[in-house]
């Protein structure tokens, strides 16, 4: 028994890109990229003559309200249907069943799992190839461990399709939380997971494997590098997995060393080289975040007010002319002087008092909360939350240390300037 399938997740069709200007020539390429990624996944399915396609949630975002996203999904799944390839879909927190799922009018070969556990079989020439189980999110907020409802029902290759946060991954909302042990206990051969955008594989106790293919198209500066889907080949109980990149624009975080760079022109040259080296030509475009590192002769010149912004504007214009065009997301100065914390502590004086004060604040959340309200940051946080920005929702401890660092640096500049 030999078959192949493709596992993809978090298509986020037609979602906006952060850091891409709403105007400008690059916007089109970026905005098309999620669609093209889906097209390339379908192309892969057709090329590899796979048996079925798994889509593990977050096909699009309900809040984007994109008509195109729904139409393209239909069109691409229609292509699979025409080729006799089945598709299995679960919904995630961004496209829960409670909202408009966009699955209206999908081809008959597409199986969309409901809010309760279901199992479907994939058959070829009268023989069962595989069992596929799945649960969709009924609502955005799913805090239960949905994986607990999965179970092996018989022989043969079994796949669990779920949108879930395995092991409480950082940076992602903790929906449908589950653990490797919990997954392993379900006895399935392959957990086709979605939700975490970074590609990952985890061998489960009991022989199964849990796979995050990552999202097929990076959408902001933190989703760097190749993005794609996983092609799985099953043969006689064995399994081969291959990651296939399908992204058409790619994000990078590139460090540009200032050491030994004497002039702005030289810096531009260095940036050009770094970008050239990292940005593959065959893609439609790239987006980079540049971080200046190290200290060099240019440091002082760049420290002038407005200098960095000017350089950023220059570079943005210059990189956008390239082939393929490169979007400069931002230029950041990572070349701040390192402060000698030990020395500061030992030296005493005001800096030590400052650090001590910060530490005592970190140890006392109530005092921090008071300070938070005292500085009217709480009300600002509320206002932001109403606008969908939850960054100031609650005081965070790391900000205290960052603030103390800021204070020390501000005082420290005296030494620089004197």
């Amino acid at each position: 028994m030999h078959f192949k399938f493709v596992h993809a997740a978090d298509l986020h069709l037609d979602t906006p890109f952060r850091g891409v200007a709403a105007q400008g020539p690059l916007l089109g390429r970026f905005q098309e990229s999620t669609f093209r990624a889906l097209s390339r996944i379908v192309d892969l399915c057709l090329r590899e003559r796979v048996a079925f396609l798994l889509l593990a949630g977050d096909l699009f975002e309900v809040k984007d309200r994109s008509v195109r996203a729904r139409l393209v999904l239909r069109r691409e799944l229609g292509r699979l249907h025409d080729a006799g390839i089945e598709a299995f879909i679960v919904h995630g927190n961004h496209d829960p069943l409670s909202g408009d799922t966009g699955t209206l009018g999908l081809p008959s070969s597409v199986k969309v799992f409901g809010p309760d556990w279901e199992e479907a079989e994939v058959r070829r020439e009268g023989r069962r190839l595989c069992r596929v189980q799945g649960i969709s999110y009924p609502d955005v907020e799913v805090r239960d461990d949905l994986s607990a409802r999965f179970r092996r029902t018989g022989d043969g290759f079994s796949v669990g399709l779920l949108h879930a946060n395995l092991g409480g991954a950082e940076g992602h909302a903790n929906y449908a939380p589950c653990t490797p042990a919990g997954l392993g206990a379900r006895g399935l051969d392959y957990w086709a997971l979605g939700h975490v955008h970074t590609r990952a594989e985890l061998m489960l106790p009991g022989g199964g494997i849990a796979v995050y293919p990552g999202n097929p198209q990076g959408r902001h500066a933190l989703e760097t590098g190749e993005r794609g889907c996983v092609l799985v080949e099953v043969e006689d109980g064995g399994m081969r997995r291959r990651f296939v990149p399908v992204d058409t624009v790619r994000w990078h975080r590139l460090e540009v060393p200032l050491t030994g760079v004497a002039t702005l022109d030289a810096l531009l040259g260095t940036v050009g080289e770094v970008v050239e080296a990292e940005c593959a030509r065959e893609l439609d475009g790239h987006a980079v975040r540049l971080v200046l590192t190290g200290r060099g002769p240019l440091h002082r010149e760049l420290a002038r007010p407005g200098a960095l912004a000017q350089l950023e504007a220059d570079l943005r214009a210059r990189l956008a002319q390239g082939h393929p065009p490169v979007l400069l997301e931002s230029l950041r100065d990572g070349s701040r002087p390192e402060l000698d914390w030990e020395a500061l502590q030992a030296e005493g004086g005001f800096a030590r008092t400052l650090l001590e004060e910060a530490r005592s604040l970190e140890e006392n959340p109530a005092a921090l909360a008071r300070l938070w309200e005292q500085e009217a940051l709480g009300s600002l946080g509320q206002r932001l939350k109403r606008l969908g920005v939850d960054v100031l929702e609650a005081p965070r401890m790391e900000w205290v240390s960052r603030a103390s660092l800021l204070g020390v640096e501000a005082l420290h500049e005296e030494e620089e300037g004197a």
């Binding site: 906006p16 309200r65 008509v67 729904r70 103390s404 204070g407 005082l411 005296e414």
Partner: protein
Amino acid sequence: MKPGLRIDTLRVRRFGHFSDLTLELGPGLHLLYGPNEAGKSTLLAFLRAVLFGFEKRGSPERYAPAEDDAPFGGDLRLSTGMGPLLVRRMAAPRGRKSETLTVLGPDGEPVSEERLKEARGHVTRELFFDVFAFRLEELAGFEQLTEERGASEALVAASMRGARRLPEAMTLLRKNAEQLYKPNGSNPELNVKLRELEEVQEQLREVGNRPALYFSKRERLESLGVELGGLDSRVREDGRELERLARLELALGDVSSLATTRAELESLPSLETFPEGGEARLEDALQRSGSYRAEVARLAERLVSTEAELKRLSAPSPVRGREDALRAAVAAYSERSELVRALPARRAALGMKRRQVESALEELGLGVDGPGLVALDLSAGARAGLEALSSRLDVEETGRREVGGALARARSERERLEGVLTRTESELAALPDVRPAQVRQQQAGLARMRVARADLERLGEQKMEARRRIEGLRGPVTELPSSSSPVIPVWLVPVAAAVAVTLAVAAWLLGGTGVGVLGLVGGLVLTGLLEFARRKVESARDAEREGREAQQHSRKQEEERLRVELAGYVAREELARRELLASATDAGLSPAATSSDMTARESALEETLEQAGRRESLSRERDTLRATHDLALRDERQADELLRGHEARHASLSAELTACLSARRFPAGLPAQAALALWRDASALRQRWQDLVADEAALSADEAACADVVSRLRALAAEGILPEAEAPVSQSSGSMDLVVMRVNAALEAARAQETERRAAEERRRELREEKARLDELCRTEEAALAALLAEGGGGDEETFRRRAVQAHRYAELTHRARELAHRIEARTGLSDTEAREALRALGGEEGLRTVLSQVRARHAEAQEKSKEVLTEQGATQNQLEQWENDDLLARLRIQEETLRAKVAELATRYAEDKLALALLGRARRRFEEEQQPRVVQLASEHFALLTEGRYRRVFIPAGDERELRVSDGARDWSAAQLSRGTREQLYLAFRLAVVRDFGETRSALPLIVDDVLVNFDPGRARSAIQLLAQLAEHQQVIAFTCHPWLRELFEAEGAQTQTLESRDSAATLRAV
């Protein structure tokens, strides 16, 4: 107390108005005393500048000397915790890098600037200027500092280690935070972004749930499609019915007319076999046979006339049979007719010419007739001989004429010369025969005579003059006066002397001694005078007498000389007289001749001289003329001889010519030229004669030929052509032309008649043939007419015509019926029977119209509905397409996400800034709590001391409004509530506290104060100075003042005073 900084020596190279000023300072309290403008503030600025750098260009505190571009600045020798340092700071007034700093170590080696910074205790420029080296105004500056930022920050800034820039840092953070966000602001970045985000979200809300709308619209589109399909089929059906009915309606009229036509057809007999177009054909046939008959009759007439004409033309003619002979004769005559016509004129012209030649011959005068002339030898050889002779004769004649002219000229010349010679001789004979030399001799004598006479007269006068002078000399001789009768006698002198003595004595007697002496002296003096005068007169008389004697003597000598002269004159007179005589003889005059005689003689002599000259020239001329006359005579003779030679040759040639002429029967006396002309005339005339004879021969030949031709023609013409009466008598060309014309006319008439006859014959033949053809046609036509009538069935013409009318109607009706049936079929698609049936089914015309209007209304309604549905479908489709391709939502979402990211970033930064600020505030308070009491305590002590215990304490109350307050133990005041002097004392106390604290914790820096005590009362001033003196035990204190009372107070506290001279005197210092 930490080791710090002390200024040992100050050396101003150039600064302000100072140059080369050296000031020794050292530990302890120093007072620099000087009046206003001595340069105290300048020195303060100098100390600040060397320690911390010059002020910016343009600042009055820079103290750059204005005069030139030389560098300015100076040195400070410092004692520091790490040994002595020499700090030199110089600046150029211009140039980019104008400031140079040199720091030298103990051994004069350059060391890093860091050493200076360290020695300064890392104090900032601002702090040093505010706290360590300040003026009275800057005391108030400190006041501002505390007012603006709160005393605690100033304190922290002034004294805290590691927080020197705390106020700046806090300001910066505060500014950053405010730029990022203000809770009620609108311009900060975060406020702006939040507003934009809200706007975008509002727009998104407005757009609504696009997919839901999209899919509902899509469903609506599908239902519309179905509805449209139903409507379409209904419309189509109705349309078909409508069309069918409409066609029927159109065919209504046709159907009824078809019925009428059919009924009429039924009423007519069967006429299908009636010949088509029978009546027309009958008419044609009748007309054709009529026309044939008329044509036959016309042809017969024309045949009769043609035959009559033929008969006329066949009559006989005289010319016939002789045409050729006549034509030949006429042609021969025509050839010569011109010649014949010219003959009489030619004959007359020849006669005339002959007469002319004959008369010319007679005029020639040779005495020969024409044949004689021809016989003469007028050959070219003879003519050449004559011409040679003639030319030789011409040559001779010319020579003879020339010689004759020369002879005549020579003869006239000779005669003219003879005349002139005769005139000359006669004139010569008239002139006297005197030679000019003689006359000139007489003239010279006359001139001499005049001279001699003039001499005589002059000598006479001179002689008279000499006599007169002698007489003159004799006359006036006077006697010399007799000598020696003196003018004054000698004796008078002694007399006078005596008289004087006497008188003197008398006076002595009378008058006394005095008078007597006086009289004596006077008398003696007078006597002396008298004697002197007498001697003078004597000498003058002697001199006069001597002069007279000399005069007498010279006169005698003069008289003697005149006499001798007179004798000379007489002798010369004699000589002149002799000369006069001789010259009179020469001149031919008597010596006694008067001057008028002499003048007459002179003019006569002149005339004579002229005549003598003339005569001489005439005689020379005569000689010349005679020679010329001889030459002329010789010429004349030669010319005469030549003339004779020429005449002899001429005579011989004339004889030769005469012989020649007579040989040719020319008149003998004819000159050569005339003979030649006669010759040319004769030969020309001979030529003409010969031409004339030839012409006459040609004329007679032509005449003979013409006569022959004319006679032949005439003979022919006489036979039948010319009437007997007109038989030609003469052979004149005019009559002959008439004959020829007649002959030609007869010939022409015969030819025309023949031609006409032939044409008439041809015509007759043609007419006969035509007649036969027409007869045949008439027969055929009649047969055809009979056949046609038989075919029409009537047998006769009348019946035939009636039936033809009926047949026409029949055909018409049949055609109409067929046409109508076709139209009905074309309109309805049904045969006429079917259409009739359908109409009957619909209830006739009325029924049809009712049904039709119903169907029409139904159809229009369906169409309208369909259109509406179609419009809605299009709109829906458009809307759907727009939504499919619309990127508005995508753009808004991008904006939203971008703004969210930006807002998050800004908010984070803002929160960090705010937290950092809060942390700094908390840290500051905590630091103050731990660190502040020392400074405040010191300040309290100082202030209590300064105010002599009036105020006990300086403090900073707890709480956020942290200001400096003072207390006397019972109540407290803020700085602003204090009097000016007290406030200054407070600030001074504070500064001194900071200075001391700084000295204890970090570095003992010198304190430099410029007249800050002026607002203090003497007591408090003393206290302040005591405080300064206390401070000076640990660190250097330098004070400036211009007030003597302060100086005294300082000196009382042991200050080392140095006096600064005012600017006018040299800036020197005097140690006290």
